[in-house]
Symmetry: C2
Subunit: 297 residues, 2 copies
C-alpha cells in the first residue's frame, strides 16, 4: 500500500536551506529556499515554514551538510559535528527541530539523502546500490545499499579520496586539510583557482575539462572497485556541464581496461554514470524519502 | 540460542584449497589443505573430504577466488567468472558441490568470507562494519556491513584502486590490467620485482617498507573515506611483516590530517587497523559463518 502521509524535508546546505512538504516528487505541496546564516536564525526560519502550513507533516527528514552524527544510537545523533562553517559546530539540528515541531525526525548527510532520493524516485530506481556524488563548491558522496544509507565512523567523506595526478598538472590543490585530494583538485573553486576563470566561463574545448574528467573518472573507478555501486549519479554545480559526462564515461572505461567485466561498464555506461533523475531536487526529495523510512506505523 | 549444527567450509584459493568441518573457531573437527589444480580434480578432492567425514555438514560455505558471481538471484550464482587462472573461467563451483553433496551451499568471494569470519569471531566482533584486505600474491578486499557481505556488480575489487605514487618511485607496476594500480605497486610480486628481492628477504630497515606503507596507507585512507568501515583488518602474506602495521597507522593519520575526527583514527588507531584475529584461518572460518547465514530453519 503506498504511503500517502504528508512528509516534510529539509535539505540543510552550507549555503542555503531548502524546505519542502509533500508525499513524493509528483506531489510537492510547498517548497522554500533561504540562505544559511546562523544556526538559530536558519533553523527558526525552517520551523516557521512548517508551522505556517495547513497541517504539520507526519515526520520530517533532514539531509544536512556535515560532518554530522547520523547514528540514532549515539548521544549526539542529529548534531552537526566539528565543521569549518562558522558558528555551526556542535549544533543539535535534530533536537531543535524536534523540540519546536514535536514530530519524528530522520537525519542523515545531505549526500545520503540525495542518494536515497535517487534510489527511491530518480536514476537509481531499478538497482539496489546507488552512489551519489555531488561536485560543486565541495565534493561529497553518499551511498545507499539495499535501500539503507551507509554510515560508519560516522559516515563517508568520498570527496576527500586521493587519486593520481593528471600528467602536467602542477596545481597544489585547494583542500585546507589535504591539499591535492579529489576536492582539492576537482571542486568548482579548485577549477576556478587553477585556471583563474570561474568554471562556468571555461569553454567546452578548454583543457580544464579533460583534466576535470581525469580526476572524476579516477574517483569513480576507485568507488566502483571499492563498493561496487550499481549506479553512479553525479550532481552538483560542476556537473551542470553536461559535456563532462561522455568524457568521464570514456575515461572510466579506459582506466578500468576491461577488468570489471560487467555490462554496465562494458556496454551500457551511458546508463551507469548518469545525472540525477530528480535534477537539483534529489536532496530535498531524499529528505522526504528519509522521513518515510521512519515506519511510523 | 547458539547454532550447534555442524557446518562445512571451503576457502577456494587460486593456489590452494582449505576445507574444514566444525561449528566455529573453537570447534574445528577436521581440516585439510591441497593445491588448486584443475577444477575437476580440485573440486573432487573437496567433495571427497566431506564425504569421508562421520557426518555431512548441515550446509557448506564457500569463499572463492574470483571474480565470482555471488548473487543468489543470478543464473550464474556460484560460478567463477572470467579469471586469469587457467581452466577455471566459468566453473560452476557451487553447482558441482551441490550436485555431489546435496546440501545447501552459500557462496561468496574469499575476501568477503574472511571479512565475515573476522566480523563474527575475530577482530571485528565489536563493530558493525568490517573491511578485510589481503595483501599477498594479489591484493583483494571484502566488506561486511551490519553482518551482510557487500556485493554489487558483481563485487568489489579493492586491490585495483589507484592511489598517488610514492615520491621517487619509478616502478611501472605489475598489474596486467592497470600497471600501477594498488596491486600493481604493492602486492608481494610487485615488491619482489621492484627490489629484485623476495619480500620476506627485505630487512626491516629497507626503504621498500616505507614505500609499501605509503601505498597501503593511501589505500586505507581511500577506503575509510569511501565506505567508513569501523575496523580495518589486514591479512595475507605481506602483512606477516608485523613492522608494517605501525608504519601504515602513522601514515594514515598523517594523510588524513585530522579530517576524520573520530577516536578510532585520532586516538585508538592501534585497535582500528589490525591483523586478523583469526590469523590465517579468517577465510576458512568465514566459510563456516557464511554457511550459518543460510538460516536453515
Amino acid at each position: 500500500m503506498p504511503d500517502t502521509s504528508l512528509y516534510g524535508s529539509i535539505e540543510a546546505g552550507g549555503t542555503k536551506f531548502v524546505c519542502a512538504l509533500g508525499t513524493g516528487p509528483d506531489d510537492v505541496r510547498a517548497l522554500t529556499r533561504f540562505p544559511t546564516t546562523t544556526p538559530y536564525e536558519t533553523l527558526d526560519q525552517a520551523i516557521a515554514f512548517f508551522k505556517e502550513q495547513p497541517e504539520l507533516p507526519a515526520a520530517l527528514g533532514v539531509g544536512s551538510f556535515g560532518p554530522v552524527d547520523p547514528d540514532p544510537k549515539s548521544s549526539t545523533f542529529g548534531h552537526i559535528l566539528s565543521t569549518p562553517k562558522p558558528g555551526w559546530s556542535n549544533t543539535d539540528v535534530r533536537g531543535r527541530l524536534h523540540e519546536a515541531l514535536g514530530i519524528p525526525i530522520a537525519f542523515d548527510t545531505d549526500v545520503n539523502a540525495a542518494a536515497l532520493g535517487e534510489y527511491r524516485w530518480g536514476a537509481g530506481q531499478d538497482v539496489e546500490t546507488v552512489l551519489y556524488l555531488t561536485v560543486g563548491t565541495g565534493i561529497g558522496g553518499g551511498l545507499v545499499i539495499n535501500g539503507q544509507p551507509l554510515h560508519g565512523m560516522p559516515h563517508p567523506e568520498m570527496g576527500h579520496i586521493f587519486v593520481p595526478r593528471a600528467e602536467g598538472d602542477s596545481y597544489a590543490g585547494k583542500c585546507p586539510f589535504h591539499g591535492d585530494c579529489l576536492e582539492g583538485m576537482a571542486s568548482g573553486p579548485a577549477l576556478q583557482a587553477r585556471w583563474e576563470t570561474p568554471a562556468q566561463d571555461l569553454p567546452e574545448d578548454h583543457p580544464a575539462w579533460a583534466m576535470e574528467a581525469h580526476y572524476l573518472a579516477y574517483a569513480l573507478v576507485n568507488f566502483i572497485l571499492t563498493c561496487s555501486p550499481q549506479r553512479l549519479v553525479l550532481g552538483g554545480g560542476v556537473m551542470h556541464q553536461m559535456h563532462l559526462f561522455p568524457m568521464i564515461r570514456e575515461r572510466v572505461q579506459t582506466i578500468l581496461n576491461g577488468y570489471v567485466r560487467h555490462p554496465a561498464v562494458l556496454d551500457e555506461i551511458d546508463a551507469y554514470i548518469v545525472p540525477p533523475g530528480l535534477g537539483d531536487q534529489a536532496g530535498v526529495l531524499g529528505g522526504i524519502a528519509l522521513a518515510q523510512m521512519l515506519n511510523l506505523d
